[in-house]
Amino acid sequence: MLKACLSIAATSIIMVATAAQAQETIKIGLIQPLTGSVAYNGKTDVNGATLAVDARNAKGGVMGKKIDLVVEDGQCRPAESVNAAEKLIQRDKVVGLIGAFCSSATLAIMPVAQSNKIPFITGVSSAPSLTEKGNSWFFRATETDALLAKSFAGILVNQLKLKKVAYIGVNDDFGRGSVEEFEKQMTALGATTVMKEYFEHGTTDFYTLLTKLKASGADGAFVSAETQDGSTFVKQKAELGLETKVFGVGSWATADFMKLAGAAANGIYAAVPYASTMKTPKNEAFVKAYEEQYKVAPGKYSAAGYNTLHILVDAIARAGSTDPDKVREALHKTNYDGPNGHFEFDDKGQATGFTVVLVQLENGVPNVTASNTIGH
């Protein structure tokens, strides 16, 4: 539709940003979906990043200058995200880019970042192929579907005793990618696939899909979906009285997911790179600061926004310059401790060393049942 306009929220941030231009600042561009069906998730990423910026600025910023976060709405679409990236690079002259959320949108920005020689970090996009493109300006500070699948397929098959599995994913590269990876890993461990289906972003009615799930006789369903679609799915599954075990990837271990899904969320397993219940001192401090600011516990995208911002600012500080080449070199030497573990980048720009967890949702709390460190 003709709604390619910026969200008012983003515009007002930019207006504030322009006002602050009087004194010299270091500008960082953040592209997230602020409208559309994953707008909610994009907003939590911005919240995490804003929290990190405030913390850095309170300590004097970087290189003696304040950090200025410029947020643009990429709508999770490739075309809009490229427009946002062009605008941030050409007009705002940002020194680094973060973002794009959906893998398809991130993929579209990657060549733009490369041709303009701007370091580009994603904290969300998990399609494995992104770090295989040979783009030396691109870094991924989160897990890939393949890494997550390798970490948890064994636990799902052996401990939950899943024999017949149904795979359900949102119809984009995130959903299709994670379904393929989990199917591959779990089939290798002896599980059989009884159903494989996709649905569109923003689907409101899952009865057809659930009817098929029931008829398939699956004893477990793998679902890759974000907050809105995922919560609607599990709610309608409970409405139909289906007992099939569900384990998901996406933003399942968040306070809002559990609030939206209510009692239907109980017992669901989720494989996530971050849960607010992770027991590390860094995380406890992060959760406290986040709750103070936003009155809600942080989710995986809040942590993603927070981590990527810190990683980029650390690199600028290490480089002691905003020169793109130097910042890129510094990014390769990343040695950052976040709420969910340690981050460094390999030669392809893929982060390693951080922790991923399998949680079970119970009365609004994501209980950690297993955790795994992403190896080198």
Partner: protein, 290 residues
């Protein structure tokens, strides 16, 4: 066979919901010849208002529905009198641009006030499964189908049987003749748009109790409503209902037997087919206007 009945039941239920969401759009077009691109956003207002009153303030569900109807009625009347009246009689393009602008304005204002978090309307109906032979449905959905039927029937009675409805039809058949017999046509335009807004808002509030509402969902709602609108014949009341049911059942059967991944394509394939075979829709009323 059980699978078929379940899919058919799912399709009929969503079809009823599609019909209700499209009814306001088709009514405003059928009577006023205004294509309301802000239809989905009026739905969003209904849903968000319903959420604010039931879930945040704890009001009674039916009382809230009445308030939603009242607010959207007054709001719709004002939108027509303050905005649409200014471009009346200047062709179709200014109204289209006006309603597109209105939709962007409403969506972003809602985004500013409510934020991006999806919300649901608190419903008094149980969402536990109800087994009718081989078919499972929830009490909430069954009740909603009933309420939808009442709303659709009520709107139809209003247009066909009341003095106001006759005045509406007269105004849009021949404005000058209507004025000559003493109908205040400016007022009628406002009331017709108000009726369309009420149907959109009521749909948002009702469906907001089983699905989720968020400020930017209006585009999706409008898109589905346009499919129903073209399928059933632009402006035809019966067409909107049949169009909605056809879309619902077609999506359910395609999703059930082929693949759920491309279910949105079905609606548009049907639209293309309709435009090729019966360009005026299934229930065309080509001779309605003088």
């Amino acid at each position: 066979m059980d699978l078929f009945f379940q899919l058919l039941a799912n399709g009929l239920v969503t079809g009823t919901f599609y019909a209700l969401s499209a009814l306001g759009l088709t009514l405003v077009f059928g009577l006023m010849r205004v294509v309301n691109f802000a239809h989905g956003e009026l739905y969003v207002i209904g849903g968000l208002l319903g959420w604010a009153l039931t879930a945040v303030l704890g009001w009674n569900y039916f009382l809230t529905l009445l308030v939603v109807i009242l607010v959207l009625g007054v709001g719709g009347y004002l939108i027509d009198q303050v905005l649409i009246a200014r471009v009346r009689g200047q062709g179709e393009e200014p109204t289209i641009l006006l309603t597109i602008g209105l939709s962007i304005f409403i969506a972003n204002t809602a985004l500013l006030i409510v934020g991006t978090t999806p919300v649901t309307v608190a419903s008094p109906f149980a969402s536990k499964p109800l087994f009718l032979g081989p078919v499972v449905i929830t009490q909430a959905r069954l009740m909603l189908v009933g309420v939808c039927a009442v709303l659709i029937g009520g709107a139809n009675l209003l247009i066909q049987r009341t003095t106001l409805g006759r005045a509406m039809r007269a105004t849009f058949q021949d404005t000058m003749a209507a004025q000559l017999v003493g109908i205040r046509t400016a007022h009628i335009y406002g009331l017709t748009f108000a009726l369309g807004a009420i149907l959109a808002g009521a749909a948002g509030m009702l469906l907001g109790s089983i699905y989720v509402v968020e400020p930017t969902i209006g585009g999706v709602i409008s898109l589905k409503a346009f499919v129903v609108f073209i399928l059933g014949g632009m402006g035809s009341f019966a067409g909107a209902i049949v169009g909605g049911l056809i879309l619902g059942v077609a999506e359910a059967l395609w999703g059930g037997y082929v693949a759920t991944g491309y279910v949105d394509a079905i609606g548009f394939a049907l639209v293309i087919l309709t435009l090729l075979v019966r360009p005026y829709g299934l229930f065309s009323k080509r001779a309605e206007r003088a």
